[in-house]
Symmetry: C2
Subunit: 232 residues, 2 copies
DNA sequence: TTACAGAAAAAAATACTATTTAAAAACCAG
DNA sequence: CTGGTTTTTAAATAGTATTTTTTTCTGTAA
């Protein structure tokens, strides 16, 4: 069997199974045996096993001889894996995880902004500025404005010089892209350009405290917004 | 071929290859082909491919038909995967990543402590207290004291109620276990029980600000300590 | 005749299929 | 409770398919 979209069969199965797992599809029935999965998806055992192995590398399942494969408890899932988080956020009723992720951003991004102010990585700071400029330029076009907003936040992570912060790029990119569907329910929400600018200025001046506080202000706002949506 | 230590062959290869990759073993030569790996490790192609697929699920490598498999640039590695981080920290000359990880803890743990104070999850708070008590009881036994210290910090993540924080448990556990080798070089370093206690008290009182600041104090200390080791 | 462009063929690597054997753990009969 | 049976994943083996790079060939124009 050949896969449709340039995606290899194993990766296609990875995505399909991953999404099914996070939506709880196997909670009642238990995870199928290799043989069952093969007939269900019309794939060879080898490919199936490769997909299963990738899922277990992400903490979603585990296999043992004779016992079969089972879905791991949620606390073993690697939430900080970009794929896993995306599957979770794409699933219906994912409001809670958006709020929890926003809380984590509230811990991370202000720290990253402060580090960026100390780090003074000129090219990275230039990227932050470009992001802000694009936000201003495309204020009327939601799609472009969102992209610019994401670029701005991600550029700060990069400018922090800390690879752990930088590694959150795909997670935050996904989360912001998807959270639009959530926050659009709140009438006319738009990114606060003034607030973003004050982060940039502080970083450029090397003022870590102000950078941290300005970043915090934006993210507190974001957490509150998502909290409101959740309540509604 | 059977593997030695109860670990399946595929997982054994995952670890071996993962460690080799992060130590830069393939930087010059490029990643071997499937066939070469099979002869090198005496494994079948099937298991080899399963190991390779798991590594690619963690972002360390990527494979394409005809082109072979290559090591991904570091910024694509999933640093927040417990395995990947452990491999990185176990490798020689890993001082820098300990410092960077400590910076991330400095962002996360105070936020977790603050959330824990608000969240008031009684069983989780009891675990924090148990960790502190064990620290006191085993003050003279480095191994047990370290274990208690780790339990204390991890329990705070749990008490925060935020699964993203909680997910850092294996990362922090590993990091603290390994960082002992680093910080022991600094004469007679020991965990500050007073400081730990003040976090617990603040969390129990629901005083989020004090919890955050107390946690911050400990972690700033930790960052400074690791910074000193690095300089030495 | 030479140079070059384009097409066709070959090669090299992973992707996938199929099948068999091994090992482990649960189950069941006695 | 012991020992064999069964089920399910683990691993090995062999071969086909697919993709993409590289090479080779060929025809045409200078």
């Amino acid at each position: 069997m050949r896969s449709e979209l340039g995606v290899s069969l194993a990766y296609g199965l990875l995505a399909t199974l991953g999404q099914s797992i996070v939506t709880g599809e196997f909670d009642k029935t238990g995870f199928p045996t290799e043989a069952e999965l093969c007939v269900k998806f019309g794939a060879s055992r080898t490919v199936m096993r490769e997909a299963v192995k990738m899922l277990s590398a992400k903490g979603l399942i585990s296999s043992r001889q004779r016992q079969g494969t089972r879905v791991e408890p949620v606390e073993n899932w690697n939430l900080l894996d970009p794929d896993v988080l995306r599957w979770l956020m794409e699933r219906p009723y994912s409001n809670k995880i958006f709020l929890e992720f926003a809380q984590m951003r509230l811990a991370i991004e202000p720290a990253a902004a402060a580090l960026a102010a100390e780090n003074q990585d000129r090219p990275a700071i230039a990227s932050i500025r470009e992001g802000l400029q694009a936000m201003i330029d495309h204020a009327g076009q939601p799609d472009l404005a969102l992209k610019a907003d994401i670029d701005f936040h991600v550029a700060i992570l990069k400018a922090s010089g800390n690879p752990f912060f930088w590694r959150l790029k795909p997670l935050i990119t996904n989360a912001l892209n998807l959270s639009i569907q959530l926050t659009n329910k709140i009438a006319g929400h738009m990114a606060d350009i003034q607030a973003h600018q004050s982060i940039l200025v502080a970083i450029e001046k090397g003022d870590a405290d102000t950078a941290r506080r300005s970043s915090e202000a934006i993210l507190v706002e974001s957490v509150n917004l998502i909290g409101k949506v959740q309540a509604a």
